[in-house]
Assembly symmetry: C2
């Protein structure tokens, strides 16, 4: 991964920051968003970091993002808040929501913060992990920004991949971080495969007659499949109602395809829950219990052909170590897009 | 379903109540548990109602359940509590936990209540639905009472089916109620299939060499498959840590198989979250939004061969109407077990 195609994370982050500032994001906000996007790349969320920069820039230039938003609470109780994102970059809205969740959970043991008028915020794990530093468990749910999933048995694409992420700290082990779409594959993976000219495995998508669809360039002729059939559909529906409808954010027919439309506000809905470990357990004892669970999973005998059992987040953690040392791999097609973007904005892509 | 095999719900409930009282449950508690078990049967949760009575009675008679428990909070904050169930029937612990959740969510907007030293409590949906009457959304997670799921790629059965249920109210429509195991099939379905002499579809279980296992009587030679492969494994792990480890309840290697062992306390862990709709939205507007989402799903065009799109809970709701009118179907093998149980306890099975 550390061949000539890689760019050091901090240089890529600076490029992102300068591009976002060039299209009007205030310096602090540009730095915050660039930092979170760099985190996404370091963690191996290839569909959610620098990959999204051209799209974000286009949306900002098209007036589809408010670069001088007033983010604030519309409703508030002791342990909840409804945040209005004022059509800001989603990263800024959810960082704010996470901070509010942490503050309220400190007082109440748990806090549930919803957001409306937000936007795509990158990988769910980023926000689920924010409470960890405060000895809290984090949980994040979002309404996806394009509908690629029909209800089970249906063919009208009324649902998005509506992801969930949960982060739980260990003591000696890195945290367990589950970050999953409710579909077999996230649509970001389809986009990445298309850009790289790869074929998708069967089971990711089917066409409108139910036949497997494996060419990611034909993705608009079919739809994603939910995990566990009706169960994944149920999760996508429930998560959409909780992160979307409950917050007065878009869900179902009201979700615009932000890949095709860079102007209309997405009214993205997200939610974050922070759970104070101390409200339920001795913090260090709990973390040791998580370690024990991780050790038990690692110790499992394996099926023929499987080298080792892993826990969620472990692969990402390994990628992070590799990329901090060797930089972020940038596929040639993405590199070309970034060079073009930088040229137009007067920002040079670093080597 | 209303043929000779059916017994009216209220008669079956009285039989259950009298059997539980005969083995020492106080009258009020016997009535509460019987009522919740009857609800399970009415809602079509065939693996979680009267089907479980012989097992519950055996556990009570074996001293594996405390029939005179002191259920109470070990830790408490404004929006959280950790309930010690004192090895009571799980139904009693979770009804208490739900009431505490509703009370705290009324004040704080949201509440998260964990339980330890609880027991099998029937279907998850029962408890997720309890906040609905208070204009709240309910969410319930439990550690299952036997490990039938290995970590992804492994063969050591370190995990249970760890279910989740979420209930969201509609206005004109019945609530959406998702109640799902994190495995393709719940183990209760395997037990029901075994009792009925049925074959399981491929995809429910595999053996230790990875081959499909379809004979439910051979269930102990293999294990359940998680939904979405590593994703379902991740959910089962996370739910186990949240409902088990965080509450000081059993998880992983500490989970006993309550089908094989009726004596050792299970130390079952569960959690319930109540979310006050008013903390985020106008209640009636939200319910209308849920209706609109249901209508949109129902309105979807369908794949070839599919008659209609449904939402989670809809099938259960239809079964309930049927069973309230026509009674609860009791399979001959279950009927024989109940006649034997009643005979031993001096309680006649009604017609």
């Amino acid at each position: 991964m550390s061949d000539g195609r890689c760019i050091p994370a901090e240089r890529l982050e600076a490029f992102t920051r300068d591009c976002l500032a060039a299209v009007g994001l205030p310096a602090d906000d540009a730095a915050t968003v660039a930092g979170l996007m760099s985190e996404a790349d370091l963690n191996g969320s290839d569909g959610h970091g620098i990959f999204r920069l051209p799209q974000y820039v286009k949306r900002i230039q098209s007036g589809g993002i408010n670069v001088t938003p007033s983010i604030g609470a519309l409703r508030e109780t002791a342990a909840t808040a409804l945040i209005d994102g004022d059509n800001a970059m989603g990263h800024l809205v959810m960082r704010r929501a996470a901070n509010v969740a942490i503050e309220k959970a400190r007082n109440c043991g748990v806090a549930w913060i919803g957001a409306r008028n937000s936007n795509h915020a990158g990988p769910a794990a980023l926000y689920a992990k924010m409470p960890l530093a405060h000895d809290m468990i984090g949980l994040y749910v979002a309404v996806g920004n394009a509908n690629h999933l029909p209800p089970w048995g249906g063919i009208d694409m009324l649902l998005s991949t509506n992801p969930i992420a949960v982060a739980i700290p260990g003591r000696k082990h890195p945290p367990i971080v589950l970050d999953m779409a409710t579909t077999v594959a996230a649509y970001g993976k389809v986009k990445t495969a298309a850009q790289r000219g790869e074929t998708m495995p069967e089971g990711w998508m089917i066409d409108r007659l139910g036949r497997p669809l494996t060419d990611p360039k034909r993705a608009d002729e079919g739809f994603l499949l939910p995990i566990g059939g009706p169960k994944g559909y149920g999760l996508a529906l429930i998560f959409g109602l909780l992160a979307g409808t409950l917050n007065g954010a878009a869900f179902g027919k009201d979700v615009i395809d932000f890949n095709a439309d860079s102007v209309t506000p997405t009214n993205t809905g997200q939610l974050i829950v922070a759970i104070s470990i101390a409200a339920f357990a001795d913090v260090e004892a709990f973390k040791s219990g998580v370690d024990a669970a991780i050790d038990a999973m690692h110790g499992s005998a394996t099926l023929p052909g499987v080298d080792a059992v892993r826990v969620p987040g472990e692969h990402s953690h390994a990628i992070r170590a590799e990329r901090q040392a060797g930089g972020i791999p940038v596929h040639p097609s993405l590199r070309a897009a970034l060079v073009g973007l930088g040229g137009a904005l007067g920002v040079a892509l670093p080597a």
